[in-house]
Symmetry: C2
Subunit: 356 residues, 2 copies
């Protein structure tokens, strides 16, 4: 990993939803400059985003999205960072790293700058172990292994599709928790990575997230948020629930833990509350839905899984609010747009040529 050429240099894109903060790229320059950036501008297309010299990037604004997707552009959120998933779709690389522009380089307990991308790559290039819990956490970390009592037949693991990184300083709290604990900061550096077990859902945060686009890309749809929608701040959650169900079905793994980034500022809790209140209420039904969702054996690719899931969303969540009927349709539109931009890439084909 510590070779002179950055790992996966030609196989990874960094996707950033709008950059409002000029320091952001300067701070990340030592780590990001070797990679190609995809910036997806979430608001007014006439506004200019200034990217410092030396970065290799493509910038897409709403006009570009409309031009490239035509009527299918309706599935991409407007004036919301959920639009970042357009970047996943237009990338031609195998791996994606996505990060928010208020996330800076964190320091490890020894005071050294953390190369978040390098750790994500380690996570994604080593197998996951979703079928049995290893009490020393990820057995593929350096100096680690499987403990006594771990079945040998499960030690090969499964391919890792997602690496979910964490945040020091401002924790990723919902608006009610922000309001109740305005001064709480995350100072706990937990020096490990672990696989989220099969059958267990988790709240996936999009702030500091890497994934294997070939294995799981089409499930990383960030839904309909922001302008014209009754909900916000559930884009990454939605992607996480769908992704976890599909990974469990296809025999893929999701890791969480290291690397940390430094989350510099809390978003406004009052604004957040307005965005979240429907989601806070709805998730009490959405989560049991995803916990019990099962996919058929015929769903052997991510696309097929996702379309099957969209039908279940329409049928079972449509009752909660008409929003979910619209979202279910957008899920199908998203897959159509994905397949149009990425012809003949059936994902989740495992090495033996068939999905697990």
């Amino acid at each position: 990993m510590a070779s002179s050429s950055p790992p996966l240099k030609d196989e990874l894109d960094i996707v950033i939803p709008t950059i409002r903060n000029l320091d952001f790229l300067e701070m990340w320059r030592p780590f990001f400059q070797p990679y190609h950036l995809i910036i997806v501008q979430d608001g007014d297309p006439s506004r200019t985003i200034k990217v410092p010299d030396g970065f290799d990037y493509d910038l897409y604004n709403r006009n570009d999205i409309n031009k490239m997707l035509g009527p299918r552009a309706s599935c991409i959120s407007f004036k919301d960072s959920a639009c970042r998933c357009f970047g996943y779709m237009v990338s031609k690389k195998k791996y994606i790293y996505t990060i928010d522009d208020d996330c800076f380089v964190a320091k490890d307990p020894s005071g050294k700058d953390i190369n978040a991308l390098e750790q994500h790559i380690k996570n994604i290039l080593s197998p996951s172990t979703p079928y049995f819990f290893n009490t020393l956490y990820d057995p593929f970390q350096e100096g680690n292994d499987f403990v006594r009592g771990y079945p040998f037949s499960l030690r090969e693991g499964v391919p890792t599709a997602v690496s979910h990184g964490l945040w020091l300083n401002i924790p990723d709290y919902d608006a009610p928790t922000q309001l109740v604990k305005p001064l709480e900061r995350n100072t706990r550096y937990v020096n490990t990575v672990m696989t989220i077990p099969k059958g267990t859902l988790f709240p996936m945060c999009g702030m500091n997230l890497a994934f294997d686009r070939d294995l799981i890309g089409p499930a990383m749809y960030f839904g309909l948020m922001g302008e014209g929608q009754p909900i916000g701040r559930y884009d990454d959650m939605w992607a996480g629930w769908c992704t976890k169900v599909i990974c469990d079905h296809l025999g893929l793994g999701i890791k969480t833990g290291l690397p940390y980034i430094w989350h510099s500022k809390a978003s406004n809790p009052f604004v957040n509350l307005k965005k979240e209140y429907n989601g806070i209420y709805w998730q009490e039904e959405i989560i049991p839905f995803f916990q019990s969702a099962t996919l058929s054996k015929d769903s052997t690719t991510v696309q097929k899984c996702y379309v099957e899931l969209s039908k279940q969303v329409k049928e079972k969540l449509g009752k909660i609010d008409p929003y979910f009927t619209k979202l279910a349709d957008a899920m199908v539109t998203w897959i159509e747009a994905w397949d149009e931009l990425n012809p003949a890439t059936d994902t989740a084909k495992l090495p033996n040529g068939s999905a697990k």
Copy 2:
């Protein structure tokens, strides 16, 4: 917790299977002396165990076990540390902490001695969250909370039945891994605690383990190991599989992570291999059995769950080897002996008086 009186002083017993190492209690004196010790001698009853002055303890040898249990003493292993579970049975306290005599006080990264017992008590007195994964780990740790997207209806958590602590220095590896990596040491201090999700099994190690005897005690049977048995070093694993299935059924939680102890010496890998080889083979069938085991609604107490599980063991694992038929019978004997020594203590009665 840091009050002048040690936490749970009159509600917790420390159970130790034989003490071969005279330094052991001296090292733990600052932390253990306030508590009552139960020492269960695993070998020749004529040998004397010297306990340093100042400790309050009861020592049970094989003669005591035979006298107290009569013919039912057959369920307690001989010449194996699995006999420690006799100590769980004779205790009259609500909480048990059990530790091996080759486990010493570890230091945290700042160099401070770790009070393992205090951390176990924190773990056990705060709820568990088995139904949804919290990416910042145990939300009840200081400075922690539930992250955005964690359903509010699940934030109350469930009672914690077990706290599984870890080990610095010598990791808890099986004999094949010991042989392959004789020099590997665990130096990774992972500063957190987490709930093992519902439906996920884990390899429970008995080296550094605390539990709520009232909630889960009768499931903590360490099986038939050692002299006259075809298997060793699976005592804690067996207890862990049974305990996890029963906790999941009754709505109880299991935490793992902090506290660390310093595991001073690796046991002989050649001896271990001889003890383990059947278990290594058998666990490939045992674990799928426990993964798919379900208990009936009528099993509303730990005892009822355990007896129901024993029938399934006889029926489904009896085919592997006659040992499992014998073990299934011993499971029933264990419950009979437990109930004889602990009359009228139906465990897992939740505050409202009925099991969940």
